[in-house]
Structures are given as structure tokens and as C-alpha cells.
Amino acid sequence: MSTFIKDFIEREKMSRRNFLFASAAGLTSAAVVGPWSATTAHAGSHGGWSMAWSYRDRASAYWNAIVSGGEAYVESLGMSASDMTNLINEGSSEKSLADIKAFLAKNGGKGAIACDANDSPNARPVVEAVRDAGGYISTIWNKTDDLHPWDIGDNYVAHLSWSGEKPSEDAARLLFDKMGGKGGVVHIGGIPANIPAIERLNGLKNALNDYPDVELLDVQSADWDTTKAAEVMSSLMTRYGDNIKGVHCANDNMAYGVIEALKAEGITDMPITAFDGNPEAVDLVMKGDLLATVFTNPHWGGGIALALAHQAAIGAFKPSEEPNAHREFYGPSILVTPDDAAAFKATYLESTPTYDWSDRWGLSAGQIQYK
Amino acid sequence: MLEFKNVNKIFGPVKALSDINFKVKKGEIVGLVGENGAGKSTLMKIIFGAYQADSGTILIDGGQTQFTSPRDAMQNGIGMVFQEQSLIGNLSVMENIFLGRESEFKRFGIINFKEMEAAAKYQLAKVGLEIDPRTQTFDLSFAQRQLVELAKVLTLEERTQNDLVILLDEPTSVLAEDEVKLLFKLVNQLRDRAAFIFVSHRLDEVISLSDRIYVLKDGEVVDEVDASIAKPENIQSAMVGREIDSGYYKQDERKDFDASSVILNVENVSVRSKLESINLKLRKSEVICLVGTEGSGREAILRSVFGMETPYEGYISYFEDRSLSIRSPFDAVSNGVGYMPRERKIEGIFSSMDVTENMTSSQLDNYNRFGFLQQNAERKLAREWVDRLSIKTPSIAADCGRLSGGNQQKVVLAKWRSSGAKLMMLDHPTRGLDIGAKQDVYGMIREMSAAGIGLIVVPDTFEEAIGLAHTIIVMKDGKIMNAFDTATQQVTPFDLVSAMT
């Protein structure tokens, strides 16, 4: 890696103090020696349990935040961040399952894993594999409704999710108010079959009930992708033109695309809401390009998911003795609006809060509800 | 001007060339003959810089050299006219002529096509070819391409102070008789501009064109004869190491056909822009040879009979069975019609597949039991035919692509014979084969005819046609000009040529 990019990253750390970037940069510079120094994770300090996070990819701020949380927990045990294994499934459920099995095999089953199964049906085989190998796992986001930790046993410690519906509804209300309670709105959705995508669309629809004058003109999926979102948005401009008074996006990345597509049209005052609360998005909220985004505190989520698995593994608590509300619960979500964006950034982004990982359910937003 | 002294070339254990001494004088035409595998191509490749000699010296105008690449050889005035032509169809004539040397027309990195066109015109004039240099090459006739080929080589004149030495590798094998005459006339005119090395299997041509002839055998120069006194027989015996008996075409094995049973009846068949109301009958044991120039319709007849071309008028009936109609190669093969295409390597054999697989490729259904192959039976057949045709192959499991041309041809023939074809069509069956292999092919043709198979052959030379055929059909522009019955009349090449023109 050419040197100037390295010290560029350094300067980035200084200037933006954006923990995401810092951690990323930390990884990259550490990585220079990384791959071939095969240090088998030193046992003991973590009770002989190796820890891993299995997630989609390194290509988004969201997952980086998740990972940073996991690493924060590992470091809180006095280990180095590199002691947490990254199992990257690159959007392939097949690989995600294979990696987790391989990880367990490598550590003779003594593995504490946090995982997003990438596609909900994949959750069952994953947790079954972990149970059979005697490891411990907690999952986030994707799992089918018929799968519950208490049915699997102690090895499936907990499932953590974020109700997309309520926050997305709040965002929508904010959006509609900004639109003056009337006019057309379009929804740019994620990969349609993903649970978050479905919930966030539902949230919008719930809000619509109270706004008779707001019309949902169109719903187009842009697969969470910035480029596709930009193209879909500009096509929608052709179809609906000035009838579009507001845009409701299922995540930040797509919102970036929408903003740029509109910028190309010379439109800069269109109210747009997003989801995820990535630093870039928060900056946009502060600049007023984005009306609101929903922060789900992935850093905490990533940390606590791993913490639960590991603490159950070392026997710090016995999952089966916990109420269901502690086995399936929602993580916190904060609506970031122009008013509180600055304060929010100060507390969550510019300084990483240090969490007490033994306070397992402190930020829980209640037990997961199924419809 | 070009001289080889004790040149050796070794491939692994094989000594491809040993102590070759070879000389070309200014303005001379030197013939180079030898059976396949005698080392001709290796020698040419060394002359042309594609290979480098392992030992020995190469002199140009007395100066010692060693060509590192064809490009390097060209710089030194060595040009080559390839057997399988080296023009690229989708490029224009001028682009082909100057392919690899466009830089001469470069202005600030941009090619100046006007200049190139003019230059191309100049080159084409040398070979007396009047065509627009911008025409796409695949629109040209074979003969025209051959001339463009030559023009391309002649561009060397402008590029090197050395005198030219031009290798002609089998230049006539794809040309018809009159085109060959034209080419020879041209070569003789060009004597003052270049010396030629003329490589061919057709001894008569070599003798008539060259001044001196080198005979190669097993990588050595076994004879060097003055063409004016050379006799085909002697040269052949030198090449083969044995006397060629007068019965070269196995006349003695010739059987008369049985006029009563017609196995193929082509009635008034026309194929758009290829054939015009063709009528011909093929009888049991009969050998019909089709002669004519490229595109005179010989191939079109074979392909229509084989179901690859669909006539827009006329009717083809097989084996006196009106009910039987053939619309695809599949129909043809399953009804005992066999076809040996000209492009052996592309259409004839399956390289990377073994001898057995090649032999049964046209009759898999005979070895099909509930979709499974009876491979033992296959191998049995393969062994049987390898012995029967004495096919030289390490084993029946050897990659067919690595056999010599002659043996590949034998495999293809074996394929059709063994699948019980009753009607065979052979397109240039002896193309590029050496005398030994040729004779074997003739033998097989006789044998097939004796076995009651009717054959339509597109021969390599008039002599072949005269030697083999019961009936010779002369074609021109998709029409049948004339038919000769070799039993009743003595046919000479001259008769054929005059019939063609």
C-alpha cells in the first residue's frame, strides 16, 4: 500500500476522528503483517473460547461498526482486536454456514460466535451446527419466525434485532410533516425479501394511514445499492416529475444515490429519510441534505451480540434461566433529525462510548413481537 | 545468396535434420521435395526463422546469420507463401498486405489509409492483380488470395537491401490447373526480382518449374538433381527409397461397376448460387471423380448429397428407394452415406479424442445399449481396423490429433467403412499426404469399390482422377460441362482442362 495513502488515513483519523475510519485504518495498517503471521489465538484470557463475528462484507460502514463493537468487547477482555475472527460470507449463505462450521472444527467446538445469517432461512442450519458442535451463538437480524433460541437450547444464546417498523414509521411521519402533510412520496427499498426491507416498508405504510393526503406513488427496490438507487430515482423523476414531494429510503447507502440523482436535476430541497445512521448520513443530516436517518447503534449491537455468546460460553450466565425477553429482543434505535444531529454525532460518532458489556440488556427495546 | 552448411536440428531424441547442405543462387528456382516427415517443414521453418538451427552455419550473401524470428528473417529478405493461406478474412486486402508493418504509414500514431492503399496498388501490380485494395479478403477467390499472398511477400523488396528468397509451400495444392499455370508464369517473370524455393508434393510441377531439386529423406539431403534431366520415377524412388511401380493408381485392382444397380440418382438439382440443374447417376462399385476449379460446385454436390445443402429444385434419390429422403447429415449417415470432408483437421477427425472414439463417432447407435456404450465392442472394432488398414498408432487409445496426416485419413476411412457405408464421398482424400500414404488411400478406394460401395471423389490432381475414376465429371460455375467414361476412352489432362475452359 503506497505510503501517502497510509498517512492520508492517519490525517483522516486526526481530522474527522471518525471511529469507523480509525478502526478501519487500524485494521489496514495492522494487516500489513497480518495474513501470514499465524498466531493461534492465545487461550486462557478468554476461558479457552475463541470468538468470531460472521457477517456480510467489509464494504459498508454498517458492518464496520458492527465489527468495531465486537472488537471493543474482545479488547475489554484484555485481548487484541485481531483475536476476533472475521467470517465474511460475501452475501453467500452457503459460505456463511461453511465458514462457521470450519471455525468450530478448527477450535474443537469451543467457539463463541455472533452472526448475521445473511438470509433468514440460513439461521436454522447455522444455530443447529453450532449446537451440535457444542459452541455458543447469538444471531442478529435474519432468522425465520419459527426459530427461537429457547427451542434450540443454551447454545443458541439470543437473537437480537431492530424493529425496522416503528422507527421507519417515525421517520415517515417526520417526512410527511415536512411535506406539509400532502403530496406524493416514493419508497426506495432494499432487497425485497430481506426482513429489514419488509419492515421498513411496513413502517412507511403504517404512517400513511394517518396522512390521507399523502400518496405512495411507487415502491422500487434498489437492492441496498447506491448506484442502482440513483438510476431508479432519476427514472422515477421521469415518471412522476414534480409530483414527488418526498423520498423514503430503506437505508443510508441508497439515500446517498437518491440525493445525487436529485442534485443532478438541480433539486436540493427534497425531503429524504434514510435508515442506519452511518456517519456520512449523519453529516448529511447536519448539512440538511437528508431529513433524518435512524441510528441503530450497530457498535453496541455488534459488541453485545458477541458478549452474550461468550459470557454464556464461559458460564457467566445460563441462557435457559433468562426470560424470553432476554433471548429475543430489539436493539435501540434513535431517530437522528437536524435538531439533534450535532449532539448525536458528538456522543456516538466523534467519541466511541465505552459500554459495560456485563450490562447485557441495558439498551434492549423489549421482546421481539411477531405478526 | 542463401546457403546452409551442415545444419542440424534436434527435437528431444529425434534428429529432424542432419548435416543439411543447401544452396539457393540468385534468380534461381529451387525445388524441395520429400515425403511427409522427411524434414521439409523443419528446414523451411529454419529458413523462415520460426526455428533456430542447433548447429551448422547459415550464410546470406556469404555473411553468416541466424534468424531469431520470422520478423527477423523478413528483414533479411526471406519471405514465405504459406500452404494454408495466411490472409485474414475480416481484414481488407491492403491491411493484409501490410499486416504487422502498419507503422510505415503512421502519422502521429494514426494510420494513413490513403498512403496504404496506394502502396498496396503498387504491390498488387507486381503480381498483375487488379482489385480494389480495400476489398475484404474473404470476398476473393482462392487463386486471387494466393496472388495477394505473393504480393504481400514481395513487399520485402522495398524493405531490405538483400535480394529476396521466397518460399512457396505447396502453393498449388488448392489451385486448379489453369491457375497453377498462371502462378508458374508469374514466378518465372519474377525470377529477376527474387529466388524461389518451391515445395510441393506434385513432382511433375516441381520438375517443370524448378532449375534444381533437392530431395530430402529422413532429415538428410539424399539427392540433388538438375531438373532438366530429372525423372519423376527417379525422384520418387529417391524420396521413398523404393521404385514406384507403374501401377501407381493400382489400375490392376480396378473393378468394373455394375451398371444395373443405381445407388444415387441426382435429378436436375439446383442449389442457389452454387449448383444449376445437376444430373448424375452413381452405380454400385462405381468411382466418379469431380474435377473443376474452386467453387465450380464439386463440394456443393457432395454437401447436397450428404444433406448439408438443401436444393431449391430437383430430387436426389438414394439406393433406388423413392421413399427415402435425406435432409440432414444424421439422415445421411443413418442410411449408409459417408462423407470425408476436405478440412481434415476441422471436419474430419476429432483431435484430443482417441482412435477408438474417432472410429465409432459415426455409428454410436450400434454401440448403444439403453444409452450406455459397449466399449469393449468399440475397442474390438478399433483394433480390427487398425490392423486391417495397418494404421500406424501407438495404441487405439492414442490421441488422434497426434497421428500423421495419412493415418488420420485412414482412421476417417475406417470410420465409414466399419459403419457399413454404401455410398462414400471423398473430398481431396490425398490432400497433403506423401506418396506412401497416397497409395494406401488409392488402395482403400479400390477396395471399397470392389466391396460394392459407390464413391464420389474430388481428387487432388487430374492424374488422380484419370487413374482412379470410372467416370470423370468436369464442372464449371455449378454446371456439369462434360463427362468422360475412362473405360471406353483414353482421357488425358488436356481433355479435362479444355473441358473446363
Partner: protein
């Protein structure tokens, strides 16, 4: 000897890789974990087997992934009603759609690269439509009753390996012992010669794509059973690894060479390379790059250049 080595480069590559990873972390050599490693890659392997036939005749099948996606949805939807027959049903669906790509390629002369990609798009739309754009899960009892055995293991051998082995042998027999297999080889080696020998080239090619489709479908079924569910995008990430498996195994895109055995080895190579990320503890941000580099090295060692005159 040299010949022997050249024709077995892919084996050499595989064993060298296993050796290297094992040296760094001996746990890798643990037999049972190796077996698990193989068991997990079975669906991918079956899809790769299918692709092998398409590539064997010099084509390519880019619809395999979308096909599997759609099949996971179909399987999840109809397992309850069709029971065991879900398997043949899905295979037939796959074969038919595969044949369609084949027909488009042969009849209308659309390169298989495009036709299969397009048919893949159709599959994806069908999958989204059938699933109502939701992740589906199977009727658990049915799944356990009918296919539970597939997910358990006999001793240290995951039963799914037997499934993989069975499909492998079927494919091997098709390639080596059947008339169809021979015709596939012929068409791959020299299409024109095959035509001149009276083979129905078009039909053979269509069948090749049908086979590819059928096996992609089978991969989809097994995968959805494994996950006890399906979704229009759940098999994403199959396609490139499957293609890589075929190529690394030594079946070049020129056709006529290679075969299902090569794919077996190729898939194993891919599995090992993947696992090596973990065993060599490659940093997260390095993994993809390392994968690419190892891949290039592996290909350099695997493919037999002696047969290639021109490299396109």
C-alpha cells in the same frame, strides 16, 4: 512420467494446498473436520458438476445461480404438498429451463454467455413472484421426516457427502459410459466434425444445457433442504465459486477437455482456499485479495497449456 504429472496438475495443486495449510495449523489435517468441510460444499459441487457439462461443450451457464434461487423457493413452497416428489419435480423444472437456454443458443445463435444470463434473469423474476418477495421456510416435520437423514451423519461422515458422491458417480457415468457423454465430448472437441459424422449437434448441446440446469436445480433443492427454507436471493454467491471450481479443476473453456473428475478436485481446491482464510488467520480486509492471488497461482499450476496452441 511427465505426461502423467501434466494430466494430474489439479491433484498436485490440491494436495500442495492441503499440505501448506496443514503445516501452518495442523488442526486442518483433522479428518473429521476435513469431511465436514467437504460436506458443506456439496450443493456448490453439484452446481459445478452441472456447469461442467455446459463448459465441456465450450459454452457457459450463467443461469445456474438464479436457477438454484428459484428452486429453493419452489422447494419450500411445495415440499408439503409434493413430499419426496419435490426432488424430481424441481429437477425437471431445471432441465426444462436449461433446455430453453440451449435452444436459444443453438437455434437463434445467441451465445450461451448471453442466453443463460437472460434466462437467469427470468428465473430470478419467477422466484420473486412465486415467493411474494419473502423468505420462506419449509414445513419442518415434513423436511425432517423426508430429508432429516441427509443432515445427520454416519460416524464422522456427514450423510450429505453420500448424496454428493452419488450425484458425482452418476455424472461420471454419463460422461464416461454413455452415448450422450461421448457425443458431448465429440461436440466439445470438434463441433463441425461431429456434424459431419451425422450427430444431431443441436440436440446434444441442448441436452448439455438441460443437464446443467437439472443439476443446478438439484443443488437448489439440497441447499433449501439444508436451510429448511428458500428465498429469491439465498443462493447468491454460488455462481462465481462454481465457475472457478470448474476452471481450477482444469476444464478449460475451449471444450472437449477435462470433465467431472476435474470439477471434483476443483471444488475441493475452492473449499480449501476458503478454509485457509480461516486457518491462516487472514485479516478480514485481506481475504478477498488473498483469495484472488491464490486463485491465480492455483490456475497457473493447474491448467495444462500443452494442448492450448492459442490462448484466448
Amino acid at each position: 512420467m511427465r505426461e502423467l504429472l501434466r494430466s494430474n496438475y489439479h491433484w498436485v495443486t490440491l494436495f500442495v494446498l492441503i499440505l501448506l495449510v496443514g503445516i501452518v495449523d495442523p488442526n486442518f489435517w483433522n479428518l473429521s473436520s476435513l469431511l465436514i468441510l467437504l460436506g458443506d460444499i456439496v450443493p456448490l459441487f453439484i452446481m459445478a458438476l452441472g456447469l461442467t457439462f455446459a463448459i465441456y461443450i465450450g459454452g457457459i451457464d450463467l443461469s445456474a445461480q438464479s436457477m438454484a434461487n428459484m428452486i429453493t423457493v419452489i422447494a419450500s413452497l411445495y415440499l408439503a404438498s409434493l413430499g419426496l416428489f419435490i426432488v424430481p419435480f424441481c429437477i425437471i423444472v431445471g432441465a426444462v429451463l436449461g433446455a430453453v437456454s440451449g435452444l436459444v443458443t443453438t437455434r437463434f445463435l445467441v451465445p450461451s454467455f448471453i442466453s443463460t444470463l437472460a434466462i437467469g434473469g427470468v428465473c430470478y423474476s419467477l422466484a420473486q413472484w412465486l415467493s411474494g418477495n419473502r423468505a420462506l421456510y419449509m414445513n419442518a416435520e415434513k423436511r425432517d421426516a423426508l430429508f432429516g437423514w441427509m443432515l445427520s451423519s454416519s460416524g464422522i461422515v456427514p450423510n450429505i457427502l453420500f448424496v454428493g458422491a452419488f450425484v458425482f458417480f452418476v455424472a461420471l457415468i454419463i460422461e464416461r459410459r454413455t452415448v450422450l457423454g461421448r457425443k458431448l465430448k465429440a461436440v466439445g472437441a470438434a463441433e463441425l466434425a461431429a456434424a459431419a459424422s451425422g450427430m444431431k449437434v443441436t440436440r446434444v448441446k441442448v441436452l448439455a444445457f438441460a443437464l446443467s440446469g437439472a443439476l443446478a436445480a438439484l443443488a437448489g433443492v439440497i441447499f433449501s433442504i439444508k436451510l429448511s427454507g428458500g428465498a429469491p436471493s439465498i443462493a447468491n454467491g454460488f455462481l462465481l465459486p462454481a465457475i472457478v471450481a470448474v476452471l481450477v479443476g482444469g476444464t478449460p473453456l475451449t471444450g472437449g477437455v477435462g470433465g467431472v473428475v476435474n470439477t471434483l478436485v476443483g471444488t475441493a481446491i475452492v473449499a480449501v482456499i476458503r478454509a485457509s482464510m480461516l486457518y491462516l488467520e487472514v485479516a478480514a480486509t485481506h481475504q478477498q485479495m488473498v483469495f484472488g492471488v491464490i486463485l491465480i497461482v492455483a490456475i497457473v499450476f493447474t491448467i495444462d497449456r500443452s494442448k492450448l496452441t492459442i490462448v484466448k
